[in-house]
């Protein structure tokens, strides 16, 4: 059953009482919260996600709630609880939805060591995946959001999960995080996309979430073989440019961008070198999403 088959009121009740159990990529996540804002955000952004049965094994137990103290009456705050523990300081209560996304990312990156996890976006077309590692502020998520609204399938805008068995990319298909100017950029580029309300004054500035395309969520069980590693960089007022990038340097950068490369040791090294044997690597600078769509389309066509 999809989450969207429940009304927002029902989702608020489930979230507050028994907890909402969702398939989030290859994981099952149980979310508990009395926050109506979080419930409404989940109803909007996860409407295509499948709900899981209570009896299924739960990978992550997440609770987002306010402390029962006098603080809830002025400048109310919320805590993130992971398996009953509070790993972080509290956040303002209005940040419940982005907090959930950040904390689910943290949960995966800190615990899902059955994968090699890279801080990178990953999209797919024709069975072949593009991995896009980039530091915050490089335009990675904006580029990802633009491309998945022009025919590319979203696997993830933030965490690339690589199978240790065959190096394939495993889909998460969760909401895409947008910041500051990129919110209006995507609203203009893809007016049909569903974007949450903007949360202001976070540590990343103003943030909003774009709902993943329905097809990306429906195809959550389909892995993809990496064929390109592309390092994106937004450069204002520039023409789009794709420049070959050294495979050896790409390997070092993927390792540096991985959350758990050091945990996997030689297996991680061999996974990355094997992956890059079959990938073309590029630096990509751009300023207009329309240019990026064209370049990526040519790249995909050129592989045959």
């Amino acid at each position: 059953m999809r989450l969207g088959e429940h009304s927002p009121e029902q989702v608020r009740t489930i979230l507050a009482e028994t907890g909402l159990i969702l398939h989030t990529g290859p994981f099952i996540t149980k979310i508990s919260s009395a926050s109506p804002e979080l419930a409404d955000g989940l109803s909007l952004l996860y409407s295509e996600a499948q709900m899981a049965e209570q009896a299924e094994f739960i990978d992550f137990h997440i609770r987002i709630d306010s402390p029962k103290s006098i603080r809830r009456w002025f400048s109310p705050q919320i805590y993130f609880y992971f398996d009953g523990f509070k790993p972080f300081n509290p956040f303002p209560v209005e940040q419940a939805l982005p907090l959930f996304e950040w904390c689910l990312n943290w949960s995966i990156s800190q615990h899902a060591h059955q994968y090699l996890i890279i801080h990178a976006a990953v999209i797919e077309k024709g069975g072949r995946a593009v991995i896009m590692p980039a530091p915050p502020g490089s335009g990675k998520s904006t580029l990802c959001a633009g491309l998945v609204n022009r025919g590319w399938r979203l696997l993830s805008d933030e965490l690339t999960l690589l199978s240790l068995q065959d190096g394939s990319a495993v889909p998460l298909a969760r909401p895409v995080g947008l910041k500051n100017n990129s919110i209006d950029v995507i609203r203009s580029f893809a007016p049909e996309a569903t974007i949450s309300a903007v949360t202001r004054d976070t540590h990343k500035g103003a943030v909003a979430m774009m709902k993943p395309p329905a097809e990306s969520v429906r195809r959550i069980g389909e892995r993809a073989t990496p064929a390109w590693v592309i390092f994106p960089r937004y450069v204002a007022d520039s023409d789009a440019e794709l420049v070959p990038h050294s495979k050896a340097e790409a390997c070092l950068e993927l390792g540096e961008n991985a959350f758990n490369y050091s945990i996997h040791g030689a297996e991680g090294f061999q996974l990355l070198t094997g992956l890059l044997d079959n990938c073309d690597c590029y630096d990509f600078s751009y300023s207009r999403l329309s240019d990026a769509v064209e370049i990526f389309s040519e790249l995909e066509s050129s592989r045959g």
Binding site: S246, K247, A248, E249, C251, L252, G255, S262, G265, A266, F269, Q270, T273, L276
Partner: protein, 95 residues
């Protein structure tokens, strides 16, 4: 006084090459290093067996006849010291 260079104890190397770029993973430390052809060849020589500096110098001069022996020894010394700094190699005084 001559010196003997060898791989640092506990170093176990896995290699991967693309054209003239070599990546080497040290299982002992978990570190990954990027080397060019010359320094990769040097490390692989140490990997095969401990080497006197003098023997390494002779072999390099033979391999790079267009480079002066002073430049070869300078490059050799810098590369070996860099390996030592990275925990890949160690030096001992020869008897």
């Amino acid at each position: 006084m001559d010196t003997v260079w060898r791989l640092e104890q506990g170093v176990k190397l896995i290699w991967h090459r693309w054209d003239d770029e070599y990546l080497v993973f040290n299982e002992g430390s978990g570190a990954t290093h990027l080397l060019d052809t010359s320094t990769a060849g040097l490390l692989q020589t140490l990997e095969s067996s401990p080497q006197h500096f003098s023997e390494l110098s002779t072999a390099c001069c033979f391999r790079y006849p267009d480079v002066s022996s002073e430049e070869v020894e300078e490059w050799l010394g810098q590369s070996l010291r860099q390996f030592e700094k990275l925990g890949l190699a160690q030096v001992e005084r020869a008897n």
